[in-house]
């Protein structure tokens, strides 16, 4: 394998593919990046057995071939390359890299241990979304997924794709985010995707722009960004029947400026540890004011009020501040509505207006369990 590539392009490609390099002691080959020169393109690939990434860049190819390069080392090398074209030449056990006056000689890893990379099949008709729209929708929902591996099903994002609708849902049992997006696509599929895979796809979409093609298959889902692809395996198991959790009505409804409420909750919650429910923020709702308090005699206390319009009786209800601001943040519109039954039943956060700047119809809600005081 021998090629010459443009430094910025090569470095960016190597860095991108490093995101899915694995770290399993049992299969050291996963820590490598697969490099292949075929025709006039360099193909880079890596996998952690859950997510695989592949991309290709144009190079001046001198000799076709394949090599497995230690991922971390490759990353460190490309980050420090001087500003000049990169020449690479791999023999049986070494990769020689030259860039300007710098020379690197990297020991290769045994290629035969590296698993074959998952690739999206050509049969599946992909759904096509604008990259920024895709990134924004994933960001709204994925944050509600659990990070606790003890219940793998909850670490996933539920995706239900039909010809005219895309439904995304995620929950960690304390909150639930559900987004329904109208679209016209020739796809059909209900899958549970690892949150990490969706986050990687979102990051790539944000970085690359343009569009993303999503291919739903029986055992995997592929995200295609033109010259690069992410393929993720699915999480097995059944997602909780979330639709039945959504209350059909409410007894109180608060309309409030979203950014103001986020700011107040963030400010007030500094007297507690934002990551625990041990120090919740309490919303004291009355006809035209929301008073937010937090803290205890032991640590300190804080309070701040902001205007808000309440329909229904006064209410005092407490939430985990991070979960609350996550939901408000995800809602995206200038004004939000918070619907309540009582202080122990889940609250629903919804956008109130169509100021969401997307062209497609979107329905979003965020269900949030209160904290017992």
């Amino acid at each position: 394998m021998k090629f010459r590539a443009e430094r910025t392009e090569f470095a960016e490609a190597a860095t991108w593919v490093l995101r899915t390099v694995g770290a399993r002691a049992t299969l050291p080959a996963l820590s490598g990046v697969r490099m292949e020169v075929a025709g006039d393109r360099l193909l880079l690939g890596s996998t952690d057995l859950e997510i695989s990434s592949t991309l290709s860049i144009p190079v001046q190819a001198h000799r076709d071939g394949v090599a497995l390069v230690p991922g971390r080392l490759l990353g460190d090398v490309v980050r420090s390359l001087p500003n000049a074209a990169v020449s690479a030449d791999a023999d049986a056990d070494r990769l020689h890299l030259e860039c300007g006056n710098a020379r690197f000689d990297l020991r290769l890893m045994p290629l035969e241990d590296f698993p074959s990379l998952a690739a999206a099949s050509d049969d599946a008709t992909p759904a096509v979304m604008k990259a920024d729209e895709f990134a924004a929708r994933v960001a709204q929902v994925a944050r509600a997924a659990s990070t606790d591996d003890a219940r793998p099903v909850l670490t996933g994002v539920y995706v239900e794709a039909t010809a005219d609708e895309l439904v995304l849902a995620a929950t960690d049992s304390y909150r639930l985010a559900v987004l329904t997006l109208g679209w016209q696509q020739d796809v059909e599929g209900t899958v549970l995707l690892p949150r990490r895979a969706l986050d990687e796809a979102r990051r790539s979409a944000e970085q690359l722009g343009s569009e993303v093609r999503i291919a739903f298959e029986d055992s995997q889902v592929g995200f295609d960004f033109g010259d690069r692809q992410l393929v993720t395996r699915l999480i097995e198991g059944s997602f909780p029947p979330f639709r039945q959790l959504i209350p059909s009505g409410y007894e109180r409804r608060l309309e409030v400026d979203r950014a103001d409420l986020i700011e107040v909750v963030r400010r007030v919650s500094v007297v507690g540890d934002a990551n625990t429910t041990a120090t919740p923020v309490t919303l004291h709702l009355s006809a035209d004011t929301v008073r937010v308090t937090a803290g205890s005699g032991e640590i300190g206390e804080a309070e701040e009020s902001l205007p808000g319009v309440l329909e229904g009786d006064d209410l005092q209800i407490a939430f985990n501040p991070r979960y609350l601001t996550d939901g408000l943040d995800a809602t995206g519109t200038q004004q939000v509505a918070l619907e309540f039954r009582d202080d122990l039943k889940p609250a629903v956060i919804r956008p109130t207006d169509e100021t969401d700047d997307s062209e497609t119809p979107v329905d979003f809600l965020y269900l949030l369990m209160p904290v017992r005081l």
Binding site: T171, S173, R175, G237, S238, L245, L344, P370, V371
Partner: protein, 219 residues
């Protein structure tokens, strides 16, 4: 139980020689005859003690405790501040909270807490190296060996791996997967379990017992 608070000096001779200078201390004489000299600190450990059987001669100003091994504890009482005796009655003994056994029983009743669709085949499924805590089947009919611990440590993972190896020799059960369930799984045990191809799960004992958790959840 006789408790004496006294200003005293203590001399011990036997395996070594020890002297405690004058100070206020607590002397404890238990019903079985053992004598202990406590200071107001040092957790549960006495400064000096003499296990039963021994002979205590308790003169008003001097106690001498001796035993057959030739040890001698001599306590000189300079001032007795308090001398009380209580009958504590029979001790029921220490009953350890049977969390592990109870966890196993609860998980046997609710195997779906370990994985969706899991069904119990039997508790204490016998193998020739001892019984595995739970043998279950998943929705597709494949067998899963479950080891239940209160604290999930490396040796528990190894133990489960051995059971899996044994069970795997049975063509009717093969292939047997493993789940390592504990209230808390130590990081080293997590790494080892992943390495051995075993899933680990932290189970919420209180939740399993149906005790009302203070946390409100959607489901």
């Amino acid at each position: 139980m006789r408790l004496v608070v006294t200003r005293c000096t203590v001399d011990y001779s036997g395996r070594l020689e020890a002297h405690l200078p004058e100070a206020v201390r607590l002397l404890m004489v238990k019903a079985d005859g053992c004598v202990a000299v406590h200071a107001d600190g040092g957790a549960y450990k006495p400064l000096n003690w003499m296990n039963a059987p021994n002979v205590l001669v308790d003169d008003p100003d001097r106690w001498v405790v001796t035993n057959s091994k030739g040890e001698r504890l001599e306590i000189t009482l300079l001032e007795v501040l308090s001398d009380t005796t209580y009958d504590l009655g029979d001790d029921p003994g220490l009953t350890k909270d049977g969390v592990e056994a109870h966890l196993q029983q609860l998980l046997a009743e609710h195997p779906d807490a370990l994985a969706d669709g899991l069904q119990l085949v039997r508790r204490e499924y016998p193998t020739d190296i001892g019984p595995v805590d739970l043998l279950c089947r998943d929705g597709e009919g494949s067998y899963i060996a479950v080891e239940v611990k209160r604290r999930g440590e490396i040796d528990g993972v190894e133990q489960l791996r051995r059971y899996m190896d044994r069970l795997d020799r049975d063509p009717l059960l093969r292939p047997v997967r493993g789940i390592f369930a504990a209230q808390r799984v130590k990081p080293q045990a997590r790494v080892l379990a992943a390495d051995r191809g075993i899933r680990w799960i932290e189970v919420d004992y209180d939740l399993l017992r149906g005790r009302q958790s203070d946390e409100l959840r959607l489901f």
